[in-house]
Symmetry: C2
Subunit: 237 residues, 2 copies
């Protein structure tokens, strides 16, 4: 069914790395030092809730292209103010928290999954994170990608078609020769609309302890995979 | 002296991979099969001679952006015609020869050099090869870069400033925090003019048996390195 696939493109936040654990931990360190009584895991949820709407404003041309770090900073500032703790968190804390998105732990099976798939496919990162952010993150997490691609190269965010299409173009393949792997229905839907093939990789803990992760059953995709090893097997690796 | 350097960017053709051996071998296979009596090593020299002039025409706006594969194809066609063997070399041979630039052997010490430098620096490819070409080449040659960058992202070729500056911008560093490593004076000169730091890595066999390779002594650079291990030592790795 997927004999034409030559490139496997991985979403990063949630699909390849555990953003929730990483952000909640780093938020927790700042809150503890500043004696802020908010729940770091719930704060991480609220921060991430502003991710898609902030990118949508760029894609809808309500504002100019802005780097993901800038969007994270704006939503962080707003959230801290709304929680009445704006004065307790310094400029250097804020810079550190924005940088927290550059250092996140990989899911324990991610490196092995990429290694297996690389034997047969070109395996790349394709994320809304900025190029430099992704290079930092992938290096620190020890993820063996063949190449890193970012929505920054399209100056448009997923799920708009441009990031998916520019990835195919830069890799000299047709969109239908790229399989997008993601743990989110919105990313799968965007990739499918751009003409890519799609694999939903379930990451049940992706949204932390308070939220339900997206499930493959709710999404139209070529491959619904319940785990990393299920995905590798279905791709013949 | 180079304490500010955070990124080491490597040129590819000649600096990291042995283009001359790879191209002469693949040209030799086609010439033998087609019973063409030309010297493959000399043909590789002539083909490469057209590389800088072809890119200069793009940079001087004498023509629109053209992918390196397209420039290689044009110069191959012209060379075969000039040698009077245009009718002996088929379309599929020509496509295969253009693709030869996607499959070239690494210098035997390249992978180890990159591995050593990656412990301390972010280590990237920065070449005039197209992005897809570089991904193919780096994967096949087993070179462990942190990321791949291409002049294609600037739609302008080195030694113009744009490819060097876009690399720094995408990696979120200042130009002076990038060290360009190359075996060619023209690349070192271009990087220096763009504000990068520079290391000349001598590759004495880079131009094959008939030509003299560039030497560090003829070039103004921050680090003149006589070998891969000399370069790693000078960079504290």
């Amino acid at each position: 069914m997927l004999d034409d696939v030559r490139v496997v493109a991985f979403d990063i936040f949630g699909t390849t790395v555990d953003w929730h654990t990483g952000i909640a931990e780093q938020v927790g360190e700042v809150f503890e030092r500043r004696r802020i009584g908010l729940d770091p895991a719930a704060f991480a949820d609220s921060w991430r809730d502003r991710y898609l709407p902030a990118m949508a404003r760029v894609n809808n041309a309500e504002r100019e292209w802005a780097y993901l770090d800038a969007l994270h900073r704006e939503s962080l500032d707003a959230l801290l103010a709304e929680h009445g703790v704006g004065n307790a968190v310094s400029e250097s804390d804020r810079m550190r928290l924005v940088r927290a998105w550059h250092r996140l732990p990989a899911w324990p099976d991610s490196a092995e999954l990429l290694t297996r798939l690389r034997r047969r496919y070109t395996v790349v990162a394709l994320s809304n994170g900025g190029f430099g952010l992704l290079v930092d993150l992938v290096k620190a997490a020890g993820l063996p990608f063949d190449a890193i691609l970012s929505a920054e190269l399209a100056r448009t965010y997923k799920p708009a078609p441009a990031p998916y299409l520019i990835a195919a173009q830069l890799l000299d393949v047709d969109p239908g020769e790229v399989l997008m792997v993601a743990a989110h229905g919105w990313d799968i839907d965007g990739a499918r609309a751009a003409g890519l093939r799609t694999a939903f990789l379930e990451r049940p803990a992706e949204k932390g302890p308070y939220r339900e992760a997206d499930r493959a059953a709710g999404t139209t995709c070529d491959i619904p995979a319940t785990s990393a090893s299920d995905l590798a097997t279905r791709l013949g690796c």
